[in-house]
Amino acid sequence: MTEENGAPGADGQEPSRRDFIYIAAGGVAAVGGGLVAWPFIDQMNPAADTLALGSIRVDVSTVAVGSEITVMWRGGPVFIRHRTEAEIAEARAVELGALPDEEARNDNLPAGTPGTDANRVLRPEFLIVKGNCTHLGCVPLGLAANTGDYDGWYCPCHGSHYDTSARIRRGPAPENLPVPDYYFETETTVKIGLSPEEADNSGWAVS
């Protein structure tokens, strides 16, 4: 009857072959526990059908000069405005220093790129931005209702004014409306939402 000696570490001696087995078994258990957690975490990531809708193709040929459309992308609005020459000129005339947010906020360009109008559009006539106010997520009003004091967009929730490059000019919003990943597949079709493999910045001139 020496059962006490059977218990691990009961005799308080140096680690032996016996202890090695306990440590190994415990280690394997810990690794297994960690691995088995992964599927249960990963399952909450977007599913394949959701990812399949992660990009959309939009035909912009029907958007007349001086008008805009709102399309649904990843569960929220994207503004596509076909700007007039006057609007483009107005956006380009703004000094960087006059902007509350001097960054381009353009997913196609590296962070920290200056927020000139040229850095926010691929083709000057088409401005494409995500349509949730950077303050608290409301959808700003546009051409149809109220363009605000800077001829762009006006957010009625808390009074943010955006200009014709969708940059914040006045109000509580901290950042410019962000530009999503996109490129023109054809002259009139724009693909919004790209996989990393597709991301191609060559068309974007940083200035």
């Binding site: 218990a7 249960f40 990963d42 399952q43």
Partner: protein, 424 residues
Amino acid sequence: MSGPSTYNPSTGIEKWLDERLPIIRLGYDSFVDFPTPRNLNYWWTFGGILAIFLMIQIVSGIVLAMHYVAHEDYAFESVQRITRDVPFGWLIQSMHANGASFFFVAVYLHMFRGLYYGSYKAPREILWILGVVIYLLMMATGFMGYVLPWGQMSYWGAMVITNLIGALPFVGEAIREWLWGGFSVGQATLNRFFSLHYLLPFVIAAVVGLHIWALHVPGNGNPVGLEVKSKKDTLPFHPYYTVKDGFAIIVYLMIFAVFVFFMPNVLGHADNFIPADPLVTPAHIVPEWYYLPFYAILRAIDFGIGPIDAKLGGVLAMFGAIGILFVLPWLDTSKVRSMRYRPLTRWFFIFFVVAALGLGWCGAKNPDDFVLGIEGFKFIYLAKFLTAYYFGYFIVILPVLGIIEKPKERPASIEAAVLGTDKA
């Protein structure tokens, strides 16, 4: 718990906590230092296995509920979406569906262990009854869970089982309609089954807590069926039984993994890959395998007795087959717990196991088919015979044998049995 607590808080924090909420002490006394008979064999590992599977089912179920849509138009598709599009959804769905079967395998082995070694006898009647309650809750949970994928078997299984309720006199029809929330199994039924299927596992977990509590008052039974007499009869639960249970759990998980990864649909039914159609009944409806013995008992009663017609009789027999387990502790008149020392009863028990498995076989077959192709020997006849034996075992055999049987000589104590100093 038996005996004074041996927990000694070793750090200041433990001591501080122990004076306020002695939860570590509770865990220590219940699962570390708990005195456990030294002679438990592998049949005693199924309790731990069941605890693990309850956890697997709850965790995987919560995850599935994040993606499942309880709507008659989308339920089937949403389950398919889980297996096709959700990251690792195929794995989690397979774990949950096969997990139910493995849960039932373990619970049946656990119950047979209890029947063989007399674990239901005084002072463990409440422990046994709580176990039967858990089993009933599992049956209800499993049944409602099987309805959720809304395939043909889901739908028609729900139809058949809910129609059983309609057999009750006077109130049957009203209760059935109340269960359905409509004039047939439909959207309302699906939605409430989903709600209840989510709720019941937590009720099970609570009753499991009571079950373990009721276990820790008298302590474990054991293969020789003698009560613990001295400290020499026991070992601390940890590390002796944690490591033994752990080994059994891993081996059981290996078998589980073979099913989950290599034959995920073997225990299911092809018809459940067809979306539910209220206008077409599958060629023959079979419930999940773990209900088959009771399904056979239901169908075995195809005759009326006095005012009870065949339909009601079947329903009563089916529920009676489970209900009789509640009174088992008082039906078995023998003073001897373990069948090791009951030479006669043991043979009747062996045949009881065969009968239970045989009823499962009958449940899977068309009642009018011939057993092994023997002309004239219909499954319904076999089912009737086995049903009679099932009830006879509890109502006649156990009470009578307990009185007339002369048990074998038993060892003086657990220690004596282990050391072989007093071999029976």
